[in-house]
């Protein structure tokens, strides 16, 4: 994760923070909308309902009031007018009750609606009799009838309406509580996610900084190791050369033979230093994409022979036996002869360094049956029976400047550039470099190359070489 952060840290952090903020925003918008809908429902069901019930209460009273007004006059015309008003009001009440029942959903709403309908019908029956008595001129009878039947039934209607109001109040309270809970939930979520975002952002920044710091420290350490290795690699031949030169200058060397011997030592040490410096320069140029390879069809035996000849002196000095095996009729491969020689030479040099006491190196060229590069793939492997590579070191051996702690402890000199350079060259040729190793049993490094018959494929070129190295 740290490595991923270090790659695109700012963009990734921004993306994550943006995603989290979008998530928070969606939560908040959803909650606000829900609160709005609930508030609207509360208004529609409770406030409007209460208003309708208020109107119903007024109309019921108007019904009764108009009926009783008829008592206040003996004029039949006026009494008929009051009766008309009463009937108009009672029609509005009946319509209101029907509308309430149509919109009632809960069982208690429906029950109280039916009770109201029943009680209102009962009151109207009494009201009709009262009106008839008033119009007939029997005021006393009308009053008696109203007191006995009208008042109690009207009281029941009033109680029903109060019950409906209570129901609306209860519903409004519940909906208000839901809206409040929703708001509280939104706030808690908002705070929670903001806190999470802050913590996450802080952690991310810390991780990025740590990753960068580790990278910097690691690079500095590798560079220090590299400088130390290079110094050591340079100092040894320099010491030898200086010692030889001192001996010659001091007249310790006598005779032609001894002088030739000292000259040979100086030449060999100088060549070793030159090779080292060349390798460093080649690595730097490969890394910066300045390497230019001339790709051409090459005979595999020529390549192998060239490498073996170039390293024959080294092998002989180190006392190594080289076992060479090249399959007959191998197709030609596309590549740069100098670069391929350098690549294989690095592998052979490594084999002498880490080849252990068996002092045996095998170099083999063969056709790959099912390779990554198709049927035209040719492989050249360099095998030793030396100390092998620990599993934990395998993923790192192609990293520049990397040197295994065990190798460093064993005082085996090196720059940590040989294998990275070899892999860069292999990839620049359109091939690849693989390794199989077992600790204590030895290692096999295999260079896989496309055959020249596949030359039409966009393989090795100087541009590709730069590209590959640049990716590295």
């Amino acid at each position: 994760m740290v490595a991923q952060f270090s790659r695109y840290p700012s963009a990734l952090l921004l993306l994550i923070v943006f995603g989290v903020e979008v998530g928070v925003g969606m939560f908040v918008i959803r909650d606000v909308r829900m609160a709005g809908i609930e508030a609207q429902q509360m208004y529609a069901r409770s406030v409007l309902g209460l208003r309708q019930i208020g109107e119903l209460q007024y109309e019921t009273q108007e019904t009764r009031r108009s009926t009783l007004y008829a008592l206040t006059t003996n004029d039949s015309n006026l009494q008929v007018e009051y009766a008309d008003q009463s009937r108009e009001a009672d029609r509005r009440v009946s319509g209101g009750i029907t509308a309430y029942l149509q919109q009632a959903r809960m069982p208690n709403e429906i029950n109280v609606g039916h009770a109201l309908q029943h009680d209102w019908s009962a009151y109207l029956a009494v009201r009709d009799e009262v009106l008839a008595s008033i119009l007939e001129g029997s005021a006393k009878e009308a009053v008696d009838m109203d007191l006995k039947g009208g008042v109690p039934s009207f009281e029941r209607v009033r109680e029903d309406l109060e019950e409906i109001k209570r129901l609306y109040d209860t519903q409004a309270s519940e909906q208000l509580a839901r809206v409040s809970a929703s708001s509280r939930r939104s706030i808690v979520r908002l705070i929670g996610v903001v806190c999470f975002t802050l913590i996450f952002a802080t952690f991310s920044v810390w991780a990025i900084q740590k990753s960068r710091m580790l990278g910097t420290v690691q690079l500095a350490k590798l560079q220090m190791d590299f400088v130390a290795s290079i110094s050591h690699e340079l100092r040894t031949p320099l010491a030898v050369i200086r010692s030889a030169a001192d001996n010659i200058a001091d007249g310790v060397v006598e005779g032609k033979d001894q002088l030739a011997k000292y000259g040979s030592v100086i030449r060999n040490q100088s060549r070793q230093m030159t090779d080292l410096v060349n390798q460093i320069l080649l690595f730097v140029s490969t890394r910066e994409g300045r390497s230019h390879y001339i790709l051409q069809p090459l005979e595999v035996p020529d390549v192998v022979n060239s490498v073996v000849e170039n390293t024959a002196g080294l092998m002989r000095e180190a006392g190594f036996e080289v076992e060479q095996h090249v399959e007959p009729n191998l197709p030609r491969v596309m590549g740069d002869l100098f670069a391929l020689s350098r690549c294989l030479q690095n592998l052979l040099v490594n084999a002498t360094k880490y080849g252990g006491q068996t002092r045996w190196v095998g170099i083999r060229a063969f056709r790959e049956k099912t390779g990554h590069l198709g049927h035209g793939e040719v492989s050249i492997s360099v095998q030793d029976r030396g100390i092998g590579i620990d599993k934990s070191d395998l993923p790192h051996i192609f990293e520049p400047f990397y040197r295994s702690p065990s190798v460093r402890d064993a005082q085996i000199h090196g720059t940590g550039l040989g294998l990275p350079l070899a892999r860069s060259i292999a990839e620049a040729m359109g091939g690849r470099l693989t390794v199989e190793s077992k600790l204590g049993a030895g290692s096999v490094f295999t260079l896989h190359l496309p055959s020249a018959r596949d030359a039409s494929r966009p393989v090795a070129s100087s541009a590709l070489g730069r590209d590959v190295v640049a990716r590295k």
């Binding site: 039949s76 015309n77 008929v80 009766a83 008309d84 009709d128 009106l131 008839a132 119009l135 007939e136 001129g137």
Partner: protein, 178 residues
């Protein structure tokens, strides 16, 4: 000269006929067409809950003269009258009670005083008011022009006939002698 004279006679004759016709109209003598139409009939109304559907003319007279106090279902009879001077009232007093307005008023004044009249009529100023009264009072009985009837009240038969029937006897304007 003769031609002029005959034209003058014809004109005078036509003028006289028109004048007589207008006089008759002003005097309330209906034309044959009006008296026969349902709109020219007097409808007797009762409350829609009243079980009575038919009354003979004598029974109806008794009711409107206040000589009956209750319906067969026990409901008290309430008479609904229009104000004096209205044609429907005139027609009822003439056709049903077979009285003049003054006789009718005197009958009720005297009857209430002596106790012979059991019902005091309610006076409404308009046919619509009379109809609404009948609608509101189960024992009420009233009358309106047949064209003023609606479904809120019930029209009873008189001698088995409804307004609009050929032999229906209650007309707002008196019958012209054949």
């Amino acid at each position: 000269m003769k031609r002029c004279l005959s034209r003058l006679v014809t004109w005078i004759a036509v003028s006289c006929l028109l004048a007589v016709s207008n006089q008759a109209a002003r005097a309330g003598i209906p034309s044959r067409g009006e008296s026969d139409s349902p709109e020219g009939n007097l409808a007797i109304l009762v409350n829609i809950t009243n079980p009575v559907d038919n009354l003979s003319l004598p029974e109806l007279r008794k009711v409107f003269l206040g000589e009956r106090s209750h319906w067969p279902n026990g409901r008290r009879i309430t008479l609904v009258m229009l104000e004096p001077g209205q044609p429907e009232r005139k027609a009822l007093i003439r056709e049903v009670c077979q009285m003049t307005e003054s006789d009718f008023s005197r009958h009720f004044l005297q009857g209430v005083f002596t106790g012979e009249v059991l019902v005091s009529p309610k006076i409404l100023s308009s046919p619509a008011g009379a109809r609404k009264f009948v609608f509101n009072v189960p024992g009420a009985i009233g009358f309106v022009r047949a064209s003023d009837v609606d479904s809120s009240v019930k029209v009873i038969r008189v001698d088995g006939r409804l307004p609009g029937d050929k032999e229906y006897g209650l007309r707002i304007r008196p019958r012209v002698a054949e």
